[in-house]
């Protein structure tokens, strides 16, 4: 019996689960256990010493899934060394005596339909392409709607009048999304929830703080790995702007890159790997659009972002905007993060008052 599983990243397990269980009706899709401290402990224990942290998180989840009986693991990543995770992870898992296969749907940062088709055939040779295309379409739309709603939530959650109203509505929405049967149903649900979200009462003062979050994609999108940074900021009534989400990576990145390049040509000429160039352009955007500060987050040893950091620093000092850099590792202390964060918004408040 084939049992598929995949590592977590934010709420995206919902569309991924939806897709896989519809394409492969004869297989079991195992829901990966929530990421906990144990996950990262497990991952770190079996990972090479100076690999970036997403490797450790995903490896930890994989081991947890294998313990629940999975035998096919799906990994997606590319653009830097992320694209090479799969092969090494498979080897590590085999050395741990797990019998499994790790399939990487994206490698070297490119999505190739033919390649994906071949990989899916490996899971189930009789899978229906038509079905895959149809449910693939719904899934991608689901991702798009989720990302749109999330953008709205980020801008407003810090100002909700009843604490928790955004979060509980979102939970409800995700459950509804995971049960839709057709695109039409999904679209209607999206419209309905969009309205509901807009109806949540918020109080946004004119002099509110606005912060942009940029950085390495996994750390940005998996809240456990960034110690729930966005939640922490919302508690302090801050409006959050975030650019990176799955929809961006799949559909917008390619043409946005050209715009970004033109917009910040004085700072970069070439693609510097993963989202490094994007983040340089975004820093300039945030500085020019009246944001009070920038928070740059990444996992330790993320090479492309490390290259972008001196340039981001240069932009921020040119515009006299503060940047807070975080490099998260499995050993990062939460108290340390909170002290730095607190000081950051104290500083922003003081700058604002002057």
């Amino acid at each position: 019996m084939i049992k598929i599983a995949f590592p977590h990243m934010g709420d995206y397990h919902i569309p991924a689960n939806y897709l896989l269980s519809h394409i492969f009706p004869n297989t079991i899709v195992i829901k990966a256990p929530k990421i906990t401290s144990k996950t990262i402990e497990l991952g770190t224990k079996h990972s090479p010493e100076f690999v970036c942290t997403p490797f450790k998180y995903t490896l930890g989840t994989m081991i947890e899934c294998l313990d629940e009986g999975a035998n096919i693991l799906i990994q997606m990543g590319g653009g830097c060394r992320y694209g090479y995770y799969a092969e090494l992870q498979e080897k590590i898992l085999k050395d741990l005596d797990y019998n499994c296969k790790v399939i990487n749907l994206v490698t070297e940062g490119q999505t190739n339909i033919k390649r994906i088709n071949n990989l899916l055939k490996q899971i189930d040779p009789k899978y229906s392409k038509i079905k895959a295309l149809y449910y693939g379409f719904i899934t991608l739309k689901m991702v798009k709607y989720m990302d749109k709603i999330d953008d709205y939530i980020r801008e407003n959650i810090g100002f909700e009048l009843t604490v928790g109203s955004f979060e509980s509505l979102k939970e409800e929405m995700l459950i509804t999304f995971s049960h839709v049967k057709s695109y039409k149903e999904l679209y209607r649900a999206y419209k309905r929830y969009l309205k509901k979200f807009h109806n949540i009462k918020v109080h946004k003062p004119d002099n509110r703080l606005k912060i942009g979050i940029i950085g390495e994609l996994y750390t940005i999108m998996e809240p456990f790995s960034n110690y729930y940074l966005e939640k922490e900021l919302a508690k302090h009534h801050i409006e959050i702007k975030r650019f990176t989400n799955v929809h961006y990576l799949l559909f917008e990145k390619a043409h946005k890159y050209k715009k970004y390049k033109k917009y910040s040509k004085e700072y970069f000429t070439y693609n510097m790997g993963a989202d490094a160039s994007d983040n340089i352009a975004r820093s300039k955007y945030l500085c020019e659009h009246n944001y009070d500060g920038i928070i740059h987050i990444k996992s330790s040893f993320c090479t492309p972002e490390i290259g972008a950091m001196p340039i981001i620093n240069k932009i921020a000092s040119f515009y006299h905007k503060p940047v807070l850099f975080f490099s998260f590792d499995s050993a990062t202390s939460e108290t340390g993060i909170n002290t730095r964060l607190e000081a950051f918004y104290d500083m922003l408040e003081m700058r604002k008052d002057k």
Partner: protein
């Protein structure tokens, strides 16, 4: 009755308390070791302050800062609880309104705060490890068999500081052992250590920051004349070290307490207040959060450490 304000800074190593009046003038202050028990330390501190405080004063505000700020904040019912970075900046600005850069190297942390026109414009803290901080220096002092207080005098004697790799505590230690076995003079090694603390600080915490005078150097390590000398030499700027620099955090939070006063009058008497913390480990999920429940006179006032928000 005159009004006054108490600021308490509870660090991992020492606990500081300052009482100021309406003009930010220090009325009295106290400095004791935390000894791993912030609650007891604060009880002791308040006893000392109570005896020192002239009778005509009435405490109209209390603020807490430092690593145990939240706990002590609850205990004292503080009107403001702030992190130490902000408190230090405010405290320093009270005495040096023109300061542009604050360098700070403490026991575990090192930080830099940039100020322009009286407001913090940027800051940074050490990211990776404790290399080059106070605890690192005192462990090296022990290894060399010297009191850490004498470090500065030794360093000033040296003409040729030895190069020591100080990016990481472990590497620095092995390098140090190696250098002392090869036979370098003690003062040269100590001077090298002091210099490496400065270089490490500038390369890590101070990276990409424009350091402009007037510069104030604070934290435990600022008492080390060797480190001060190399900061002067490398930055080519004068470095101010205030004798009250260890109290700046407490002063800052006292100033903030004055600004946030509620009208409530506080008592420094803690005898009748029972304050207990209970730790336990939650096993509802594999996170196994270490929770801390805080009771004030047998009433649960708060609990911390939960990742899921259940408590």
């Amino acid at each position: 009755m005159k009004e006054c304000y108490l600021g308490v800074d509870i660090g991992s190593i020492s606990t500081k308390g300052v009482i100021i009046d309406n003009n930010n003038k220090i009325i009295t202050s106290a400095y004791i070791w935390t000894e791993g028990n912030p609650v007891e330390a604060v009880r002791k501190l308040l006893n000392i302050l109570k005896d020192k405080l002239p009778k005509q004063y009435q405490v109209k505000g209390i603020g807490t800062t430092g690593s145990a700020r939240k706990l002590i904040g609850l205990m004292l019912k503080a009107c403001i609880v702030k992190n130490e970075i902000t408190a230090h900046a405010i405290g320093t600005l009270t005495f040096y309104p023109n300061v542009r850069t604050i360098l700070e190297i403490g026991g575990q942390d090192s930080k830099i705060i940039l100020i322009k026109n009286g407001i913090i414009t940027n800051y940074a803290m050490n990211t990776l490890c404790a290399a080059g901080t106070g605890s690192f220096l005192s462990s090296q002092a022990k290894r060399l068999g010297i009191k850490v207080e004498d470090f500065g005098d030794y360093a000033l004697k040296s003409k040729n500081p030895v190069k020591i790799a100080a990016r990481c505590t472990v590497f620095a230690e092995s390098d140090l052992v190696h250098k002392s076995q090869v036979g370098y003079a003690k003062e040269d090694i100590i001077a090298g250590l002091c210099k490496s603390v400065v270089l490490n600080y500038l390369n890590n915490v101070g990276k990409g920051k424009k350091i402009v005078g007037p510069i104030i150097f604070q934290g435990g390590v600022s008492k080390n004349k060797g480190v001060v000398k190399y900061f002067k030499e490398i930055l080519k700027e004068d470095i101010i070290v205030d004798e009250n620099s260890h109290l700046m955090g407490a002063i800052g939070i006292a100033v903030l307490a004055r600004r946030n006063k509620t009208g409530h009058t506080y008592s420094l008497e803690l005898k009748n207040v029972k304050f207990i913390t209970k730790a336990f480990e939650c096993h509802r999920c594999p996170n196994t959060c270490e929770l801390l429940k805080i009771y004030r006179n047998d009433e649960l006032v708060d609990s911390w450490g939960s990742k899921c928000g259940k408590y």
